[in-house]
């Protein structure tokens, strides 16, 4: 019995149990939790069976459905099951008494089932089947938890089903070209394909995965879709869901097509396929990151970063050197941890205050210190500053871009980072710093079951920052298995060569700096503790009657600068397409006029037109 079947069966069992016992609180909470724990345990043990293949004799066009365990999917399985477990723990308290709990765990299991199936599959058809299960469960995840949720879920779904359909063409086209759905077979035959066909096929797959991983300009579904649902789902979705698209890109770019084949794809003499891809990745980094500045809702803000961070991973992959690819892959887990940490912190605040509106929060640092710490760790990681893990992977990526001669892309990455820093500062400031609104005076820190996942993630975020080698070992194995060069790594970073990086030293320096700052702070401490209203600004004394809150319109000045460049082309295009479909459908409906004579005329018209068309055939 392979672990694969165990994983899939347990996830499926979770779905079935939750459907059957939809009234039982125990099944919903504890049985589900137990199953998620088992899933995490099993997937951790998958490394013992790397390379094993498992198939179900299930005939479709003469193929059976197959799964295999590779280092790449081991890496993803760990992330999926880990994050699901943490979400489940966090949800214990968070979802208590909420209406959506009836199907909350069902869709969570369904989604996990779908994602595990996608990453473990060893042939296109299995991949596609689970891909569909995954996007349908994402749709049902998104449909719950708020008034706006159904609408944004529908928007997501339009993108997802488009992606699926494109993917389906790719799947079937591969089958008709190679006579097999199997990844290995396709990989072995890929070189026999003509270059234009290879390019077409690859583009089909990449476009499809790009939609799912919210690459510019197909990203607009993500922020709304992710932020309108339950905040725990937001964590789950932003953490792993989009990254399955990246898994697809890695798998097809490096695993199936192979980087040598991809590098043969050149248009106009010199423009490389990878470079085009990189440009889109760069746009994905910059535009969403600056859009995040505008958000007044913590969930929306962080959801925009979910788009932007994907750009870093992709641009790392696009550089296609060992450092860049490992940076891209490493960034996935780094991103996952700090992003989920941030959303958990937001969820905690929401749990206590009932809002995620940044204009209404503030000053919670004293009331919810653990959540503050969690958010702080998270945003340091997100901004890519030492000593947290985000720094390491971003550093890899910058370095790789410069090394492969893509300086513009590197500059784009830096610009993206500036935007990130600006917007995450807004996040932490507006939630935890500044004035505490009166109504939140009685707020307490969240309970332990919600703190626990945050503590775990904080440890990981910091730990992977100091010891990136923990993940690099696995990434090196992935790169080897994909036939790529490996970065020489040590426990603290990159071992040798020009790009040496020792995170221990950096952390030590950073800590040293922090200590110095602390000492200065202590020495110069001459401050007086006053009531928050015993304060003044611009000559005005602040009191309860003065509605002054500088959390409001936090970046008005910067927004003023950016505004002229925000053309909202994407929004307008989307609206145009929807309008077009609407108009076409209205016109098509008008064919059915309800007038019987017209209908009869249609019959003869069809007859005559057919003759006109076909008379050449005779």
């Amino acid at each position: 019995m392979s672990i694969v079947s165990g994983l899939l069966l347990i996830a499926l069992a979770g779905v079935i149990l939750n459907v059957l016992f939809y009234k039982s609180k125990i099944v919903q909470k504890y049985v589900s939790l137990l199953l998620f724990a088992v899933l995490a345990y099993l997937s951790f043990n998958m490394y013992k069976q790397v390379g094993s293949h498992f198939s179900i004799p299930f005939l479709i066009a003469g193929q059976s459905i197959g799964f295999t365990i590779t280092w790449l999917n081991y890496y993803f399985a760990l992330m999926i099951t880990g994050i699901t477990l943490l979400t489940a723990i966090f949800s214990l308290k968070y979802m208590e008494g909420k209406e959506g709990i009836v199907h909350y765990y069902t869709v969570l299991f369904m989604k996990t089932f779908g994602m595990l199936g996608v990453i473990l599959s060893s042939d296109l058809i299995t991949f596609f089947v689970f891909w569909e299960i995954m996007s349908w469960s994402t749709f049902s995840l998104m449909s719950t938890g708020g008034k706006e949720a159904p609408k944004s879920a529908l928007k997501y779904f339009i993108f997802a089903v488009t992606a699926s359909m494109i993917l389906m063409v790719g799947v079937v086209l591969s089958y008709s070209l190679f006579g097999s759905f199997d990844f290995a077979v396709i990989h072995s035959k890929i070189d026999s394909l003509s270059l234009p066909m290879t390019g077409f096929l690859l583009s089909i797959f990449i476009v499809s995965f790009s939609i799912e991983s919210a690459v510019f300009p197909m990203h607009s579904w993500l922020p709304e879709g992710y932020s309108n649902t339950f905040t725990t789902f937001t964590a789950y979705l932003t953490g792993i869901s989009t990254r399955i698209g990246i898994y697809g890109i890695i798998l097809f770019l490096f695993g199936i097509f192979g980087i040598q084949t991809v590098d043969k794809l050149v248009i106009l003499g010199k423009i490389n396929f990878r470079y085009i891809f990189g440009v889109f990745a760069a746009l994905t980094m910059i535009i969403p990151t600056f859009t995040a500045l505008y958000q007044h809702d913590a969930k929306k803000l962080i959801a925009w970063h979910s788009v932007g961070q994907g750009g870093y991973m992709l641009i790392g992959l696009a550089s296609a050197n060992a450092l860049g690819i490992s940076g891209g892959i490493l960034h996935i887990i780094n991103y996952l941890t700090y992003q989920v940490l941030i959303v958990f912190a937001i969820a905690s605040v929401e749990y206590r205050t009932g809002t995620t509106n940044l204009n209404k929060l503030g000053g919670l640092i004293k009331k919810m210190p653990v959540s503050y710490l969690a958010l702080l760790f998270g945003i340091i990681g997100l901004a890519g500053l030492p000593p947290m893990n985000g720094f390491v992977s971003k550093w890899f990526i910058y370095k790789a871009l410069i090394m492969s001669g893509y300086p513009f892309l590197a500059i784009a990455a830096v610009i993206g980072t500036i935007g990130t820093i600006l917007s995450v500062y807004k996040l932490i400031h507006n939630m935890f710093l500044g004035q505490l609104p009166e109504r939140y005076n009685d707020i307490k820190e969240v309970s332990f079951s919600m703190q626990l996942p945050m503590w775990i993630l904080m440890i990981v975020v910091f730990g992977l920052g100091v010891y990136p080698g923990l993940a690099m070992g696995l990434i090196a194995k992935i790169q080897t298995s994909l036939g790529l060069a490996v970065v020489p790594y040590s426990l603290h970073g990159i071992a040798s060569g020009s790009g040496q990086l020792n995170m221990l030293v950096i952390t030590a320096l950073f800590m040293g700096g922090l200590a110095v700052a602390w000492i200065i702070y202590l020495l110069g401490s001459r401050r007086k503790h006053v009531n928050q209203y015993n304060n003044y600004a611009g000559g005005h004394f602040l009191n309860k009657d003065v509605a002054y809150n500088f959390n409001y319109e936090f970046y008005a000045a910067i927004e003023h600068v950016i505004d002229p460049y925000r053309k909202k082309i994407i929004e307008r295009t989307e609206r145009g397409i929807i309008g077009l479909v609407d108009a076409v459908s209205e016109y098509v409906r008008r064919i059915y006029t309800g007038m019987i004579n017209t209908y009869a005329i249609y019959i003869l018209t069809a007859f005559v037109i057919t003759i006109i068309f076909l008379k050449e055939l005779i």
Binding site: V129, M168, V172, I591, A606
Partner: protein
């Protein structure tokens, strides 16, 4: 061996019997109808292994085929018989509680005659006999569409009747011309003799036939009656009309084009028409508020897809088309049957009035979801595999035309999933609607659930389905039926 003619005779005889005993048995005549269809299911299933080995030729009145009428049952006929009988009996079961009021026995008589007509059209080996059964099918459909006796029902029935009759004029012209040109009415005989007809005449005869039959098969633009008829009929009848009646007419067209006219030149044109039909159906459904009209337009879309698959001029395409027929029968029946009780419970045809109905009718809504998923083609439902097979078959042909068509089909699928999802969201999200909305009775839920089992567990017997669909496809494609008759 059981004589396949019983497939036609049993429902027909029972219809007469019901008319005889309706006065004394009153509403219990429905059980007679049920028994008749049960016998039909059994016969059609027991026929299948037989015909897979060798097509069955049933002579009538002891007269050898070219002179008399015969039935030709190949794998395709047997499979369609099973589809008709099984879907028929399930919908009949649903009707037990759904159809109320006096004079129910007439409904069941008509229903049996509709089954008779469909079976006859599939099984017969004689083109004029085909026309007769076509008329039986068509007339019983006209009546059943107007059965509810409301204004919309009558309007739809009148439209359906007039257009259907124009169609039957075309068919009859084709039959007359065929007899004039070849001097025979027997399909097998005709397949041999038709080749010698001048190509211009051949084309003309074929066009008459396809146009006439196309009215019933709902090919665009001959399908203008369909949205009205399918949306105004009682839901059980809509399920049957969408479920197998249009498919029966379509399969007759396909059978004629491949086996009898043997004019593969026009297949590409027909597949283009199929894709246009699909797009028209899906786009027309997109902004529709009446749930049954949505389903009716979606049937147009599906019939376009089936037409496309079956005109790919390959065995794989035909086989995929057969699978899609099974899928469409099951899933569209689910949708119509569920919609029937939703309309009955809420009194409204607008699906926007069904907010949160899933809380009141959980089982029905869940079955509706399954139907939608299979119709759109979501794995692991049967609809996914049929759609996948269709696309595989289309791309296997390997020309640009088919690739473009595939993209258009997928565009249609996107539109289709969006409008269905809008409905599903309304079912599941929002506060439950007020009023005495409650779950449909068991006699309604049970048959719907059986349909759902078909599409849900279809993938378990996928190899078998592939084999049966494949042999049906082979029958049409290689004309074994035609050559082995005499």
């Amino acid at each position: 061996m059981v004589n396949p003619i019983l497939l036609i005779i049993i429902p027909l005889g029972t219809a007469f019997l019901i008319s005889t005993v309706a006065g004394s048995l009153k509403n219990s005549t429905k059980y007679l109808a049920f028994l008749a269809l049960l016998a039909n299911v059994w016969i059609s299933i027991s026929l299948l292994p037989q015909v897979l080995k060798h097509p069955v030729n049933v002579i009538i009145a002891g007269i050898k085929p070219p002179l008399g009428i015969n039935l030709l049952v190949g794998p395709m006929g047997a499979i369609f018989s099973i589809i008709i009988s099984v879907a028929g009996i399930l919908v009949l079961l649903y009707s037990f509680k759904y159809i109320e009021g006096e004079g129910q026995s007439k409904y069941y008589t008509l229903f049996l005659l509709l089954i008779t007509g469909s079976q006859g059209m599939i099984l017969t080996g004689d083109i004029f006999n085909l026309f007769v059964f076509f008329e039986i099918l068509a007339i019983s459909s006209y009546i059943l569409v107007g059965y509810a006796g409301d204004r919309n029902g009558f309007e739809a029935a009148v439209k359906y009747l007039i257009l259907g009759s124009v169609g039957s004029v075309f068919i009859l012209v084709a039959v007359a011309l065929i007899y004039q040109e070849t001097g025979t009415l027997n399909m097998a005989d005709l397949a041999g003799k038709f080749a010698s007809v001048a190509s211009g005449k051949k084309m003309m005869i074929m066009l008459f036939f396809i146009t006439g039959m196309g009215v019933e098969a709902a090919i665009f633009p001959l399908n203008s009656w369909l949205p009205d008829a399918h949306s105004s009929a009682p839901s059980s009848i809509s399920a049957v009309l969408s479920g197998f009646v249009i498919e029966v007419a379509l399969i007759v067209i396909i059978k004629f084009v491949y086996s009898i006219f043997a004019m593969t030149e026009i297949l590409q044109y027909l597949s283009l028409v199929g894709v246009i039909t699909l797009l028209v159906g899906e786009f027309a459904a997109f902004n529709q508020g009446n749930i049954k009209r949505v389903l009716a337009y979606s049937s147009i879309g599906q019939i376009g897809l089936i037409l496309f698959a079956m005109t790919l001029n390959s065995e794989a395409g035909l086989s995929a088309g057969m699978m899609q027929v099974v899928n469409h029968t099951a899933s569209k029946s689910i949708l119509f049957l569920v919609a029937g009780y939703m309309i009955k419970m809420t009194g409204s045809y607008q699906f926007t009035d069904y907010k949160g109905i899933a809380k009141k009718m959980p089982v029905s809504s869940f079955l509706f979801v399954l139907g939608v998923l299979s119709l759109i083609g979501v794995p692991p439902f049967l609809g996914f595999f049929s759609k996948l097979n269709i696309i595989i078959a289309a791309l296997a042909v390997g020309n640009t035309f088919n690739t473009v068509m595939v993209f258009l089909i997928l565009l249609g699928t996107i539109i289709e999933s969006v409008y269905f999802l809008k409905i599903l969201q309304i079912f599941y999200i929002g506060d439950p609607i007020k009023g005495g909305v409650k779950e449909a009775p068991f006699t309604a839920v049970f048959p719907i659930a059986i349909f759902a089992v078909v599409i849900l567990l279809g993938f378990l017997v996928l190899p078998e389905i592939n084999i049966y669909a494949g042999s049906a496809a082979a029958e049409l494609f290689t004309k074994i039926q035609i050559t082995q008759v005499f």
